[in-house]
Amino acid sequence: MKRSLLHNLRILLGAALSAALLQPSEAAAHLVTTGMGPVYDGIGHLLLTPEDLVPALAMSLYAGMRGRAPGRRALFLFPLAWLLGGFAGLSASGTPTFPLPAISFLLLGALIAADLRMPDNIFTVLALAVGIMHGFFNGIALKAGPSGLGLLGIMAALFVLVAIVSAFVLSLKPPWARIAVRVAGSWVAAMGLLMIGWFFRGQG
């Protein structure tokens, strides 16, 4: 009985998808018209926004430092959390005034600089929290532009970024290389401190 219900649900899902896809769409087939514009906009947004790019790099560095399993976890959960946060941001009405991205700079930078080990569960929560928060801000920023497809582009770019950077850190063998990564982390933390300082100075 349950199996039959599941089967029917699958057919319904397939039919709904087909119906959605068979809707007439305007066909403009210039060779360079790919329909991927908003996705590219999203990729560009991530790569050209240091407020997002630096914490994403920091998360990847930290995941790589922690090892294979955390690297894999960050690879799948971090972009997914970013996407979910982004969709939440698309429907949000206001912008948080507190500089939350600066906190992620400081936190991730400090974790890298200290090379701090943490239980797997806490690492997972960290990846989810940072992803959701930055995704949320991106969702607000992309609301008027490429919106959902832009978020998809960001997620794809994050997936590639996390994979390559964390694998690269993981593959580093010489002890000085790990120190270099920790130094990079300290710079990220310093940036976070500066950002928080600017925020409070602006408030005053």
Partner: protein
């Protein structure tokens, strides 16, 4: 599981379907021809964008005056505005031409100035710099940089070209075969890019687009076959397929270059640097794909079987969608 996989692929296609006309990267052009010492004929070709007139406007310097009645002609792919202006005896050197609205698009505008003494100047306005300064002859490396950027931009924005390269990467086994295949594709599309740009041959866009889509569709089943450990002519000799379809893709690249309306004198340089840009873009993409594969190996990512099949099905289903769509357009144009 299979129904979920098929659903996911269709869902992914759905993301693309809804936005097929979302972005138009066909460039605009502004041609200025000096008729008399202080008089210029100005042709502003604004490409159709989202099926509507382009949001960018042409804004000439305030002290230029229009003589006579400006004209406007609507073509299938652009609106062409024509007017004659006088500069009131002043020099145009250092004047700024602006394109308000360009910053909200992904369109580049190629500007070409032809003077009475036969000298020419060309420059590009971009969404990140929606204006251009008129000045004397530029050093060759500035022009080269612009065409190199155009080629780089063209391949990275052309998901159909990238998908074909991805399909080849998924089929190829071994470093030597990868080198052979990528070189074959490069040689083939360079040949037709040169032939088409120099005007020795011309491929009409609608059938060309359909054929390029067909090349992607062709690779889909081959990728799946390769993953299953089966063999075929394409799997054994991917360089052959890369060469054959590369000839088609070269005509496609040529369409990206020919729409810039470059001056004849710039043609060899433009061709060379545009092609270098295309190759660089292709190398970046191949490098990223290989780096990603290496990362999965380093991180020891174990993909479920359905996920392993996903790239092949994605290449195939997108190729099928574009083939059908472009064939419909082709037939629509015939009848």
């Amino acid at each position: 599981m299979r129904s979920i996989l098929v659903g996911m692929i269709f869902l992914f296609n759905g993301f693309l379907l809804g936005t097929v006309s979302a972005h138009e990267s066909q460039p605009g052009s502004l041609e200025m021809k000096q008729l008399a010492p202080d008089r210029y004929d100005i042709i502003w070709r604004a490409p159709i964008y989202y099926g509507r007139p382009h949001p960018a406007q042409l804004q000439l310097p305030e002290d230029w005056e229009t003589i006579g009645q400006p004209t406007e002609r609507r073509r299938a792919d652009a609106i062409v505005f024509n007017r004659v202006i006088t500069t009131g005896g002043k020099s145009i050197e250092g004047k700024i031409i602006r394109f308000p609205g360009l910053e909200a698009t992904i369109t580049d505008v190629f500007i070409r100035l032809k003077r009475l003494d036969g000298t020419m100047m060309s420059t590009v306005a971009r969404p990140t710099k929606p204006w251009a300064e008129l000045r004397g002859e530029r050093p060759w490396y500035v022009t080269a940089g612009e065409y190199l950027g155009l080629g780089f931009h063209h391949i990275l924005m052309g998901i159909d070209h990238l998908l074909f390269v991805l399909g080849l990467l998924l089929i190829v086994q071994g470093r030597m075969m990868l080198l052979k295949t990528i070189t074959s594709f490069t040689v083939a599309h360079s040949i037709t890019l040169a032939i088409a740009t120099l005007g020795y041959a011309h491929a009409p866009l609608p059938p060309l687009n359909a054929a390029i889509a067909l090349s992607i569709l062709f690779l889909g089943p081959e990728v799946v076959r390769s993953r299953r450990g089966e063999t075929s002519l394409t799997i054994r000799f991917p360089w052959l397929v890369a060469f054959a379809f590369g000839l088609l893709h070269g005509f496609g690249f040529a369409s990206g270059l020919s729409t810039t309306g470059m001056p004849k004198a710039e043609l060899p340089w433009a061709l060379l640097w545009f092609n270098v840009g295309v190759e660089l873009g292709q190398l970046v993409f191949v490098f990223l794909a290989l780096a990603l594969a290496w990362s999965f190996k380093t991180l020891e990512v174990r993909w479920p079987r359905w996920a392993q099949a996903l790239p092949g099905y994605t290449v195939g289903s997108l190729g099928a969608y574009w083939t059908i769509q472009r064939t419909v357009i082709l037939l629509g144009g015939l009848f």
